[in-house]
């Protein structure tokens, strides 16, 4: 058989944002699927989204309800979701209650009733919610298996894509013969981690389709279920070729230290203790990008966007106008139960929307705090995936991280994430001549040469300003407690960007 003769499996939209990518482009047409999970895990909502996305008057959806949630209550609650279109009922979506048959008769009668309705309506989609309640009566598992086997055969013949919804606990997953019948098995989990609720879904199997393995976080909002793929929606995206373009920081002397600026597509880390100017430098970086026609995103976790923009104004940087012009988005992300995937989704949406070239994450500590406790354990791994994904599409990322000021050590980051970054700029306090001054040094620059100089800087009304030449008359600067050497002081030098004179 040649490749042209192979059957083509159509993919149906799931109606769940993010899920199409996870299942490999859409749900296989005519597949027989089971959605399993504990009560409250979002099974019914997910099925409803699929139904509303695919039902038409010509090929309607039949939604069989059995025992459990009353149909009228279910519709009362489900219609609160934005995907719920009442006009589709009952022409395109018919809800049929099987409680009476289940209570009074056996599974054979249930199958007969379903068969009758399917023959009458010729549906494209069939849902049985919840099929497991049908065996609360004294019937064996074999009865249910036989019922499902016959139902699967019948519905496949009628070219219907089917969802059976069932309440299952985690330990029931193994060796359950019912699951062998299904083409697709969707498992929804909901766990409490300290005070946060974390929802995850897993495609345990999906015949004929290359689904994304692993656990994907999802959230239920007024728009229904929204899934966040571990691949951040970038499956199949070709990684951008490395760029040799340099991006200016907006701080002339720092650009020189970086050999002309940050390489486009790099991940830059600015590490320093509180008050050293990390956020100021980040703001200058994003403002300079906007000035050069490179839209930017700032993800803030520790202050509101308005406060962030106002602080920029005090540095003479206008972040209000570019926001209005669609050149800048300041994302405030702090629900305390975020997943990295969800955060990434917000960032990627913003990146796509404004064509962002620069991204500031201010700060990694705030980012970590915004995550639910369970995700904090995976923070490094998540950061790796996030940075890899974003730099892969050509975005230059600048992250700030607070490090404890130590006078015996010189740590780059408390997260041991230095390996994730291409460039590291370290800021720190030093005690000089009875003053607590600030120095910066470029620690690392992957793929490029950089200055080895340790430079003193100040935070002025124009932002971070690097002073004079490198500090040559001190030893042990990075210890924070340098010792003045015999080398003569530098002569008075003009502050590079301000015109202020100061004796170093």
């Amino acid at each position: 058989m040649s490749i042209q003769e192979k059957v083509k499996i159509n993919k149906l939209p799931t109606g769940v944002p993010g899920l199409d990518e996870i299942v490999g482009g859409g749900l296989p047409e005519f597949s027989f699927n089971i959605i399993a999970g504990a009560p409250g895990s979002g099974k019914t909502t997910l099925a409803h989204q699929f139904v509303f996305a695919n039902a038409t008057p010509e090929r309607p959806a039949l939604y069989f309800t059995v025992l459990g949630e009353s149909a009228i209550k279910m519709l009362r609650y489900q219609q609160q979701y934005t995907f719920f279109d009442p006009a589709k009922l009952p022409g395109s979506i018919r809800f049929i209650n099987l409680s009476q048959v289940v209570l009074e008769k056996d599974l054979g009668a249930v199958l007969e009733q379903i068969t009758k309705e399917v023959e009458k309506s010729n549906p494209a989609v069939v849902v049985v919610d919840s099929f497991r309640t049908m065996v609360r009566k004294p019937q064996s598992d074999m009865d249910l298996q036989s019922f499902i086997q016959r139902l699967a055969l019948f519905l496949a013949s009628w070219q219907a894509t089917t969802f059976l919804i069932g309440e299952y606990a985690e330990d029931e997953l193994r060796d359950n013969p019912i699951f062998t019948v299904a083409d697709g098995l969707f498992w929804l989990r909901q766990t409490a981690e300290r005070n946060s609720i974390v929802r995850k879904l897993q495609i345990i199997k999906l015949r004929g389709q290359d689904s994304v393995p692993g656990l994907h976080t999802f959230r239920i909002t007024d728009a229904g279920v929204q899934a966040f793929s571990r691949t951040f929606g970038l499956t199949g995206h070709v990684k951008n070729a490395p760029s040799h373009r340099r991006l200016s920081f907006g701080i002339t002397e720092l650009d020189k230290m970086l050999g002309g600026g940050v390489r486009e597509g790099d991940s830059v880390l600015i590490a320093g203790s509180s008050g050293t100017g990390k956020s100021v430098m980040a703001t200058q970086f994003i403002a300079e990008g906007i000035r050069k026609g490179e839209p930017g995103i700032v993800a803030v976790f520790e202050e509101r966007p308005q406060a962030y923009a106002e602080r920029a104004t005090s540095l003479g940087l206008d972040l209000e106008t570019p926001q209005k012009d669609g050149k800048l988005t300041i994302l405030y992300l702090r629900p305390l139960d975020l997943s990295v995937d969800e955060t990434m989704h917000s960032i990627l949406d913003a990146v796509k929307k404004i064509g962002a070239k620069r991204l500031v994450i201010d700060s990694l500590a705030g980012f970590e705090m915004a995550l639910s406790p369970g995700f904090r354990a995976d923070f490094r791994e998540s950061l790796y995936r996030m940075i890899f994904a974003l730099t892969g599409i050509g975005v230059t990322i600048l992250s700030t991280v607070e490090v404890d000021e130590s006078f015996t050590e010189f740590p780059f980051s408390t997260y041991s994430i230095s390996f994730l970054t291409d460039d590291i700029i370290r800021l720190r306090y030093v005690s000089i001549d009875g003053q607590l001054r600030k120095i910066m040094v470029v620690i690392k620059m992957r793929g490029g040469n950089h200055a080895k100089d340790i430079r003193e800087y100040e935070i002025t009304s124009k932002g971070v300003v690097i002073l004079g030449k490198r500090l040559t008359n001190y030893q042990g600067l990075i210890s924070g407690i340098p010792v003045r050497t015999d080398r003569p002081d530098s002569t008075e030098e003009t502050l590079q960007d301000t015109g202020i004179k100061r004796k170093l």
Binding site: I72, L75, A87
Partner: protein, 147 residues
């Protein structure tokens, strides 16, 4: 809601070739609702709604005193639209009027419950499906502000 109920009763009176909005029209409207709702809420679900509606309707239309529900949710005793024993019939109007008002009260209460539980949009969708020839196109229709 009472106005909408009357519209449905009037429609079914014509469809049933009777000029009165009494027993026959009430039964036709009620049965259509029972079929339509029973499909998705189940027999027990419909029976519960109907029982509540009947209880409410009886408080405002005493002529329904003899009406009761069967286990399948169907109406029984509707033919006995009449004043309660001891009531002075002339004060209550004619038997036909009472039947008409009793039927309208019951249907209105049932529609009212649907409106409470399912909301306007979904209730209208269901009614449009059951009565495709009746124009139910805006809030006025369901709230009785538009004939």
């Amino acid at each position: 809601m009472r106005e909408l109920a009357r519209r449905l009763l009037a429609y079914e009176a014509v469809a049933g070739k009777t000029s009165e909005l009494g027993e026959a029209a009430t039964l036709r409207v009620y049965e259509k609702l029972r079929q339509s709702l029973g499909e998705f809420v189940g027999v027990a679900g419909f029976q519960s709604l109907a029982f509540r509606a009947l209880t409410q309707a009886k408080s405002e239309a005493p002529s329904l005193w003899a009406v009761r529900l069967a286990a399948d949710g169907s109406l029984q005793g509707l033919e006995e639209f009449k004043p309660q024993p001891g009531e002075f019939e002339p004060q209550l109007g004619s038997g036909k009027d009472q039947a008409s008002e009793g039927g309208a009260a019951l249907i209105a209460r049932l529609l009212g419950l649907l409106l409470i539980f399912l909301g306007e949009a979904l209730t209208l969708s269901l009614l449009r499906d059951a009565w495709p020839d009746i124009v139910l196109d805006d809030r006025g229709s369901i709230h009785g502000r538009k004939a």
